[in-house]
């Protein structure tokens, strides 16, 4: 079980594509910083291949006026808890 963090906006689609290549159904993808723009419905089709769980960092959503009702969000404590509940953390940037 791997926690993947991704901080790149949708303009950097290659970063997301590579992350998606390595993410399994047991993994979690945590969107942070500009990565939270991926929660917009406009990008849903590009995330259709995501087999794992999708989570976005609450502070980054709020900072950017993103509602992302359809996506699970975690606060900073939740970020830490995800690190604990997964075996390792892989950062995509």
């Amino acid at each position: 079980m791997v926690l993947h963090t991704l901080n790149q906006a949708p303009a950097n689609a290659a970063c997301m594509a590579s992350a998606l290549n390595t993410i399994t159904s047991e993994d979690t993808l945590l969107l942070i910083e500009d990565g939270v723009y991926w929660t917009l419905p406009a990008f849903a089709s590009q995330l259709a291949n995501l087999t794992g769980r999708l989570v976005a960092l609450e502070a980054d959503l709020k900072a950017r006026d993103l509602k992302a009702d359809a996506v699970e969000s975690v606060d900073d404590a939740g970020f830490v808890a995800l690190c604990v509940s997964h075996d390792k953390v892989v950062s995509w940037f």
């Binding site: 290549n21 993410i23 075996d87 390792k88």
Partner: protein, 120 residues
């Protein structure tokens, strides 16, 4: 699954940034500290391995020299993404070193085999 060592994942082309050199330095240091280390070249990172680079014309040191020393440092696994090569029209024989080709389906297992993954 047993997990040991460090996977250094590098996704940037050489010379345009210091990422390639910085990733190599981490891998070499792992080796000095006798930590099993694997280098994974992904995306534009595969450009790092092209042979015949001449970066002296842009005032930089040639990475090829350091790369050729990797086997001496007992860095056994140099993994290259097959799809990253293909997307860029590159062939394995254009690379400076013998590498282990990894297709996309094998990437999750590669991550799983290591205790930590360092992205650079």
């Amino acid at each position: 699954m047993s997990t040991e060592g460090i996977l250094v994942m590098t996704r940037s082309a050489p010379y345009g940034s210091s990422a390639a050199r910085d990733a190599l330095d981490v891998a070499l240091t792992c080796s000095v500290f006798e930590q099993p280390v694997t280098l994974l070249f992904l995306d534009d990172g595969v450009f790092q391995l092209l042979k015949g680079q001449s970066p002296s014309v842009i005032g930089q040191k040639n990475l090829n020299a350091v790369q050729q020393s990797l086997p001496l440092y007992d860095i056994k696994r140099l993994c290259v993404s097959t799809s990253s090569l293909e997307q860029r029209g590159l062939r394995q024989d254009e690379l400076i070193l013998p590498v282990e080709l990894v297709d996309d389906a094998a990437l999750p297992a590669l991550l799983a085999q290591h205790r930590h993954v360092l992205s650079i």
